[in-house]
Symmetry: C2
Subunit: 287 residues, 2 copies
């Protein structure tokens, strides 16, 4: 149980955490700060936060729990802005979609206090952004990845894990590198592909017509293309090496399809599709 959550970034992710933590009785009050004063005000009006702060530092004044929910490239500057008020009793977490860059930023910003910082990534999100979509159920039933480093205090990791479990997450531990490799494959590259496909279609003269004909398959495939541009700009830049490596794997797989259709290799094409289809059906029961 925490007295005060200092929330930096009152968007979808941060706002949903605040709502979930309050509902579960894990925090008594939430002091929030967003870069845009109107977002902070909106968060207060919606009851996502209890008190508006006019700076990140003020938001964490008196906080025993701090959550950074900002684009990952803002991690270092945010931690530098608040580090003077961190105490040994403070638990600091983030929700960034990349971890190696976040951990490096924390090391630079917090130095000997980096042990207070527990790098977290909840595998949840929506194609919409903003505090207006904050939802106490966003994290329920989702995985939460913790990527501690050598310096991370074990007691802080345990506190963080207990916190996320209490709002319904299944907590998984891995290294920042393992995390970034896996999510380059199953999240970052798929986002880049979805963005590129939307731009590819809208860049064509008849793009609007094409889109007017699209059905439920396209709707689901392209959903992540509507994701927040600042968040994803930072993710793709931060994890560019691993995204690049996954892109190479993907291009090789795609080239096999292209070759099959160009040369009319019906059987091999069916085998390739069958492999993908079984893997996807096996991954998760459709429902």
């Amino acid at each position: 149980m925490f007295e005060q959550l200092g929330l930096i970034g009152c968007g979808l992710m941060g706002g949903s955490f605040a709502l979930a933590a309050k509902r579960a009785g894990l925090v008594q009050r939430v002091v929030g700060y967003s870069k845009s004063p109107s977002t902070t005000a909106r968060a207060r009006q919606l009851g996502v936060i209890d008190i508006e702060a006019s700076s990140a530092l003020l938001a964490i004044s008196g906080a025993d729990l701090v959550l950074l929910a900002v684009p990952v490239a803002a991690t270092e500057s945010t931690l530098k802005a608040i580090r003077h008020l961190l105490t040994p009793a403070t638990l600091v977490m983030d929700v960034g979609s990349t971890k190696r860059d976040v951990v490096d930023a924390a090391l630079r910003a917090l130095k000997e206090n980096v042990g207070l910082f527990v790098p977290c990534h909840p595998i949840a999100g929506r194609e919409v952004s903003g505090v207006g979509y904050a939802d106490a159920d966003l994290y329920a039933g989702r995985q939460l990845i913790i990527t501690p480093i050598e310096h991370t205090l074990t007691s802080k990791v345990e506190q963080a894990a207990a916190m996320w479990r209490a709002i319904g997450c299944n907590v998984v531990h891995m290294t920042p590198e393992q995390h970034d490799t896996a999510f380059a494959a199953v999240s970052h590259l798929p986002h880049m592909i979805a963005f590129a496909l939307m731009n590819s279609i809208t860049g064509q003269t008849e793009g609007e017509t094409f889109l007017s004909l699209a059905g439920p398959g396209f709707r689901d495939f392209s959903r992540i293309a509507a994701s927040d541009p600042q968040i994803w700009r930072d993710v793709l830049i931060a994890n560019r090496e691993k995204v690049g490596a996954q892109l190479q794997h993907f291009q090789s797989a795609l080239a096999k399809f292209k070759q099959c259709i160009d040369t009319g290799q019906t059987e091999e094409l069916e085998r390739l599709i069958n492999h993908a289809s079984l893997a996807r059906a096996h991954w998760q029961k459709p429902g």
Copy 2:
């Protein structure tokens, strides 16, 4: 109102049409045939069809409405197998995802009777296949594309359109070429990409681990990868030229992303993502 539907292919698409047509009182009985006798038997047991036929020809004997719901490459042989029992009173339709190849197959198979054939493509489907998933609501609220050619009888087009409207479709007319170009962009290429991404991930040593970490974004993005291999093998081969052209557009768009992340062009990357994100959000309200 039709006396008898001769259904060739008792899978998800054909079975769902039979259920919808019967529920709407548009057909009195359904005689069905599938290449696999066990599928035909299952369709009978599930009440999707009323009578099992042991051949395509027997399935359409006495039918005033014929629906082909088979992989598109089977169109020509199927039409050849049934053409001797077609009468001027018969309406023949298909549900194939490509149209130029289907129309060409119909021209070759039906010759002077090609006017009876109305090429149709309902923009509906699921990532599961088989008669067990047949659903009377599959087509409700979906678009139905009709791609008549010069020879297609106007009366048949009107009958077909009325039929699909009666089961809840919004009917759209276009040429086979327009259809195939649009669906290469919003359906065929996305399927090929989703298949390739699954194979790309499962082809890596840690692929299973990556998949175990994937979240709701990946779930939706990859859903179409579970689609039926025979159906999609035929679609990609039949529409390979237009799929290839769309692939080029996509590769150009993707290369822009790659360049931005490699060179750290943060602003341009955000602009590209923003463009995609707005286009996707504008296409359909999230919900």
